[in-house]
């Protein structure tokens, strides 16, 4: 019996051992949630109609596990009737134009520089860095017990001509206005 169980166990789970790069189902759960948050944010923000890009561009600075779930969303959803394009940039100097920029915790030391590069360019700056709103970030993810919440810098958003919907503001755990 024990032998049968072991053989069965091996057979059930062996495919994944053979094909390590098979799917991307197991991207960080927290980053999956953050990626869906970012997609949802687009519904509550007035995007300026422009022809600079045929895509809705989301850029991620540096390496972050959020890139993969964002790419998954890009395959399934549109924003403003545009396909979503995800770019992973090595540093802030590569930023040309995008609708949203995500700055991960690993880029904390470059935060002020990155913000200075994208300020006043109608780019929504989303971070996961503590106190980043004070450095000019517009939306910042914060852990709240067993959930992921966000805070908003309405002043910075307004400066870039973003007028977030009340639904979005209502859910923010901290609001700078």
């Amino acid at each position: 019996m024990t032998k049968k169980i072991l053989v069965s166990f091996y057979l059930l789970f062996s495919p994944c051992v053979c094909e390590p790069n098979m799917t991307n189902l197991d991207a960080e759960y927290g980053y999956e949630v953050k990626a869906v948050f970012i997609y949802n944010f687009t519904k509550y923000i007035n995007w300026i109609d422009d022809d600079r890009s045929p895509y809705f561009d989301i850029a991620v600075i540096g390496e972050s596990p959020i890139t993969e779930p964002l790419k998954q969303i890009a395959q399934k959803r549109l924003v403003c009737q545009k396909k979503i394009k995800i770019s992973q940039l090595e540093n802030a100097d590569q930023i040309d134009y995008c609708h949203i920029i995500f700055i991960p915790e690993s880029e904390k030391s470059h935060l002020k520089y990155i913000v200075s590069r994208v300020q006043n360019k109608n780019i929504l700056i989303v971070c996961e860095i503590k106190n980043s709103l004070e450095s000019g970030a517009m939306i910042n993810f914060v852990p709240a017990q067993d959930k992921i919440k966000f805070e908003i810098n309405l002043l910075a958003m307004n400066k870039s001509s973003f007028n977030p919907g009340s639904e979005l503001l209502k859910l923010a755990v901290r609001l700078i206005d």
């Binding site: 169980i5 166990f9 495919p15 098979m22 189902l25 399934k76 067993d146 959930k147």
Partner: protein, 659 residues
């Protein structure tokens, strides 16, 4: 014959899953998250039972979750009903002031499982056992997290078979007014009300919920109850509970009050004995209150602290037993004050450390106190307070997570307890967790202990040399997403519980507790979950072999049990749920006089519920438990040879919600 059927089933399952894998493994699963609103997304939770919020797949243990949706749609009324859908759960329901849960093949008086409400233990202090029943306010439960396997490295004594953490609804997510009322057969009536208020700008709010329940549970009179009791049997349970949660910035005040008043007549057989089955009354109160606070010590460090008070007294109006000559009053008070502070340091993708210190001061009855009345119809006077005993416990614990090489994480944890009652105990745990693509695998080594309670040292002739029961456990777990809506998980475990506390009796009828023998449990659990918009279903099968040190089968445990739960939603208005439960034949602790057999037969039970959502405010539910009206029994270790389980029970519920 049975083995060959089992093997065939297993091989078919393998072929099935391999085929599904080939067809669907390339697809990705993001749809459910994308279907959530922003508000729902903000309430997506990560598991909390392991002291800090973590994803289930990252925790070095097997964890299963029962959600409030499952509780509501399946019409669960008791904690055991909710647990009965999970793999590895067996029961001894004596339809009295308690019922017993056997997790992964370990029969007990509920003292091998820790039950927590919002992270604070609710186990009875004197015995260390939790109480089964309807006293838990399930209408105010957000989810129940069940951790399988020993967990003393974080939670100390009694976390042998596992942990059940009941997470109550919080004001941030559950605001507005809820009102539910239900009525059903066996004079079952419940009413509960909850109200939550949350001010997000001020980060403050509160939620309070209360419930009152009554039920006669089953017809156990005369032949219906296996001829254990007379036609005058009293068999009732009344439960009252209040949960309160107040939050202000980083402070949180919590209160849980549970009171269970029930008959205790089914504890003893009354037919042919001098016990009577009227007049018993068991009144136990569980009171937990805690003040919790979180502090950010730096960008990577959070300190969480709590002070708490617990009281789980059997009140002095209890009458445990009525005999032909007297009613016997019973009183067992106790209380505990505790403080715990924990620091969580985390460097993403590198290092993670939890370390904590805990101090508890408990005041326990050294022995319960009794009074005797002068006749079977005369209430006894209230017993005096028994001699009390103070004990202190100082514990330190730590658990670290090292990111060895992606995607492998190593967990190592240990706890050191220094108790004035059971002295020093060191408990380690070790785990390897692999997370890559659609596969999660865990290899876990765990230890745990159950310390003797103060009265175990003193009961009977007494034995001051008693040692803790200790368990060593090895487990291999794997979970695989076979297709976006289909998940399969599998667990193989091997546990050895040694130094068992057993009664040693002498010719002059004196006795004492001694450490003797061991319990070996080996088994596997296989679960399949399928969720797609209108359908939510899960099926599980458990094979477990429990033996003693001489390889003899342990009574009361079946080798096979299986569950199938199917929920179907129609246009968001109707929710239909059906649950099928199978438990195999179990060896009884003695020969059953009505059948002449040493075994309790296998049983197949079906429960169902139909919920109709009238509007965003109103919903109604019709639930039928034991739909087939099957006559089935649980084993016994008391004077009745076996315990008849409730007949078909029909429940009608109406619910109102005002946001």
């Amino acid at each position: 014959m049975k083995k060959s059927r089992l093997s065939r089933f297993f091989m078919i399952l393998i072929v099935f899953t391999q085929t599904l894998y080939t067809l669907y493994a390339q697809k990705q699963n993001m749809d459910e998250l994308l279907d959530l609103s922003l508000e729902e997304l903000a309430n997506v939770h990560i598991i909390t039972t392991f002291k800090i919020p973590q994803k289930i797949k990252e925790v070095p243990a097997v964890i299963r979750v029962i959600t409030d949706e499952q509780i509501r749609n399946n019409g669960y009324l008791t904690l055991e009903e909710a647990l009965s859908t999970l793999p590895g759960m067996q029961f001894r329901n004596i339809n009295s002031f308690n019922s017993y849960v056997f997790m992964r093949g370990a029969p007990s008086q509920n003292n091998l499982i820790l039950v927590l409400i919002d992270g604070i233990q609710i186990n009875e202090l004197n015995s260390g056992g939790f109480y089964g029943g309807a006293q838990y306010n399930l209408s105010n439960v957000e989810r129940i997290e069940i951790v399988y396997g020993p967990a003393s490295a974080l939670y100390g004594t009694n976390a042998i078979s596992g942990i059940i953490n009941i997470i109550t609804k919080k004001p941030e997510k559950y605001s507005g007014l809820d009102l539910n009322a239900l009525a059903g057969t066996f004079n079952t009536m419940h009413i509960n009300m909850g109200y939550g208020y949350w001010n997000s700008s001020k980060k403050m709010g509160f939620r309070i919920s209360g419930s009152a329940k009554t039920s006669e549970k089953a017809d156990l009179k005369e032949k219906a109850g296996d001829n254990n009791w007379t036609a005058s049997l009293e068999n009732f349970e009344d439960d009252y509970s209040v949960d309160a949660n107040v939050k202000w910035y980083k402070f949180c005040f919590e209160l849980n009050y549970l009171e269970k008043r029930s008959s205790a007549a089914t504890y003893n057989k009354s037919v042919g004995t001098d016990y009577r089955d009227t007049g018993t009354f068991w009144d136990i109160r569980f009171f937990n209150t805690a003040l919790k606070h979180d502090t950010d010590l730096g960008p990577k460090t959070v300190m969480s602290s709590q002070i708490y008070y617990r009281n789980t007294s059997v009140l002095d109006n209890s009458v445990l037993v009525v005999t032909d000559t007297a009613q016997i009053g019973y009183y067992r008070p106790n209380s505990l004050f505790g403080f715990e502070s924990m620091i969580h340091y985390s460097t993403p993708k590198r290092f993670d450390l939890i370390t904590g210190i805990l101090y508890e001061n408990e005041n326990l009855a050294r022995k319960y106190s009794n009074t005797y009345s002068t006749g079977p119809d005369i209430r006894p006077r209230k017993p005096d307070e028994p001699p009390m005993e103070y004990n202190t416990l100082l514990s330190i614990y730590g658990q670290t997570k090292l990111f060895l090489t992606p995607p492998v994480e190593l967990y190592a944890g240990a706890r050191f307890d220094n108790s004035s009652a059971y002295h020093r105990v060191f408990t380690p745990r070790l785990g390897l967790v692999y997370n890559k693509n659609s596969l999660t695998a865990k290899l876990i080594y765990m230890e745990a202990f159950r310390a003797p309670k103060p009265w175990d040292y003193a009961n009977g002739l007494g034995n001051p040399l008693l040692k803790s029961e200790r368990i060593r456990s090895y487990e291999l777990y794997a979970s695989r997403v076979l297709m976006p809506d289909l998940v399969l998980n599998f667990s193989i475990y091997s546990n050895r519980l040694s130094n068992l506390l057993v009664k040693e009796s002498y010719a002059d009828e004196s006795w004492r507790w001694i450490n003797h023998g061991q319990l070996n449990t080996n088994g596997y659990e296989i679960c399949v979950e399928y969720r797609k918009r209108k359908i939510r279903s899960s099926a599980n099968y458990t094979w477990n072999n429990s033996t003693d040190e001489n390889n003899r089968t342990i009574p009361e445990i079946s080798r096979h049990c299986s569950n199938l739960i199917l929920q179907y939603s129609l246009s968001g208005k109707f929710h239909f749920s059906i649950g099928c439960h199978y438990i195999g034949r179990r060896k009884n602790t003695r020969t059953i006089s009505t059948t002449g057999s040493n075994f309790v037969d296998a049983a197949f039970i079906v429960h169902s519920a139909l919920t109709y959502v009238l509007s965003s405010n109103w919903e109604m539910q019709l639930a039928v438990k034991n739909l087939k009206n099957a006559e089935y029994y649980h084993t016994s270790n008391l004077s009745p040879d076996r315990y008849r389980q409730p007949q078909r029970t029909v429940i009608f519920k109406a619910g109102y919600h005002l946001k």
